[in-house]
Amino acid sequence: MSDPVDVPAIERVEGTGVPVRGNDIDTDQIIPARFLKVLTFEGLGEFAFFDQRYENTGPDAGGDGLAAESEAAEQPTDHPFNDERFRDGNVLVVNANFGCGSSREHAPQALMRWGIDAIVGESFAEIFAGNCLALGIPTVTADSEEIEALQDHVEAHPDTEIEVDVAAETVRYDGREIDAAVDSAQRQSLVAGEWDTTALLGANPEAVAETAASLPYTQ
């Protein structure tokens, strides 16, 4: 293995919030499929929640590339990602089953490139949470009442500092502390700075070859 990659430990994320409400927000909503026609993830941030953020962007606009798409989008909605008060928010606060559907890593990539560093929600779809972990974005869960209270608070006080403590499994804001949960493997990977697993998985090629050779179908 060459070129070691810098993988920082992520024990906590601090910043302000952006509430995106609703259960079952799927990855097609987070980033529509027409924006997946790219060879790198660069520049995907501006397409996060695109069809929720703009009206009148039909398929006709999609055929001429992303630039045309961007120009064709004229009518911003009241989506929180269009709200200046939340523009610097780096802690996304969501409800249940966030990120369901397609495995497209473009979804967390778009959120990360928009500026999201951590997501707090009631629950997450598995592949989405795994993709977030691979980017070093914690997906932290808490009870629905706590989530809604946090969303309400951020809505009313956008400048509130939120501290997502991955190691301690808590979320602190406005003098309050919420009990949160972080999947144990996710917590250990983030806190140990081992969330980019390529080097870890590449460290034992002999053992991998041995396992491969033990399987009847590799003969």
Binding site: P32, C100, G130, V208, L215, T218
Partner: protein, 475 residues
Amino acid sequence: MSEGTLYDAVWDRHRVRRLPSGQDQLFVGLHLIHEVTSPQAFGMLEERGLEVAYPERTHATADHIVPTDDRERPYDDEAAESMMSELEANVADAGLSFDHPDTGRQGIVHVVGPEQGLTQPGMTVVCGDSHTATHGAVGALAFGIGTSQIRDVLATGTVAMEKQAVRRIEVTGELGDGVTAKDLILTIIGELGTDGGVGYVYEYGGPAVESLSMPGRMTVCNMSIEGGARAGYVNPDETTYEWMAETDAFEGEPEKFAERKQYWESIRSGEDATYDDVVTIDASEIEPTVTWGTTPGQTVGISEPVPDPADLPPEDRAVAERAQEHMGVTPGEPMAGFPVDVAFLGSCTNARLPDLRAAADVVEGRTLADGVRGLVVPGSQRVKAAAEAEGLDATFREAGFEWRGAGCSMCLGMNDDQLVDDEVCASSSNRNFVGRQGSADGRTILMSPEMVAAAAVMGEVTDVRELDAAPEVAR
């Protein structure tokens, strides 16, 4: 935790080591790649100076962006052309096998894998696509991964995974006439919820599952992720072995087949296996099932009324209200009779030969209803060729359908096959999310291929079982 299941057996056979995080490092028996989620991974590999560790266990196809009408290169869509070219270059550099459209084997990744016998019982299969669970139909442990994980698998031949719980979904009784594997899985998702399977792998079993053909089992396993389960599988049995024997991997190789079959038999869930959860579903109570909303869990039997959000559990109400507003459906009324503009027969869920045969049976002697656009997109070039050999293409064409080349097409609208404005699509695909089929206002109703065919010829959602009695369309 589960014990003695196929999941446990396959996991153990592929486990290389326990990682510090508590995850396991699993060897990947088959890594399937396609043009949309792999180029970024190859880019990362290059940045890090890494190479593909197990090229012989990596197989490529092109499906998501491939045009289904004019397939002449270069493609009209520049972005699609660049993705295809990138895949060609990556595949050539790494020396990977590739179902290029010129080979006659190209198709949707979850159709070509089982079709060619690349996917085998007792194998670990990963792909940068959430519908990878499809391959569980042959008794493989198959799951979707993201692009960073594709990078991991390319670079190391392994993936970091947490072992999950196993839920046995025991389907008793038998499916009635006109009721299919699609209706079964839509019912399962409707009952257990779109996040009911989070943390679980689904083992589908019981008489109604065992009596399904391999393509039927693929339909069921395919939509596991729609129920929140990252993987789903069916234990291999005689139906599986017959399927495998006819694939490229084993055709004319009885000795290899006999030897491999011993392994396949050895990984089946034991009679005394322990499951973390067991759910029983009675197949005989299922009727043709369709979605009324914008998640695959918002389903209803064709004779039942669309639910009133007020009657749903509190946490489901807001989603249901938004969904009904988007769809324009009315609580209390059945979906039967809801007008459709487009009929889409295709996708990794339902575009295999038996799916097309069943739809053609319904279409035979009938024509598309006025104003309905019909699209048939076979799952692979081989499915297409086999269907043409039986004359299915003629049946569809005579009815007014377009007969297209293989690809993902209107399931997710990444090529030109898209809904326009607020068109309603009767679709044999797997997701009815808002915007899924290419138009932000588009409306998708999921159903079986037979039901899509019925909706296409009637111009509205129709119980396929009642179609024969409709005098105005009978020949």
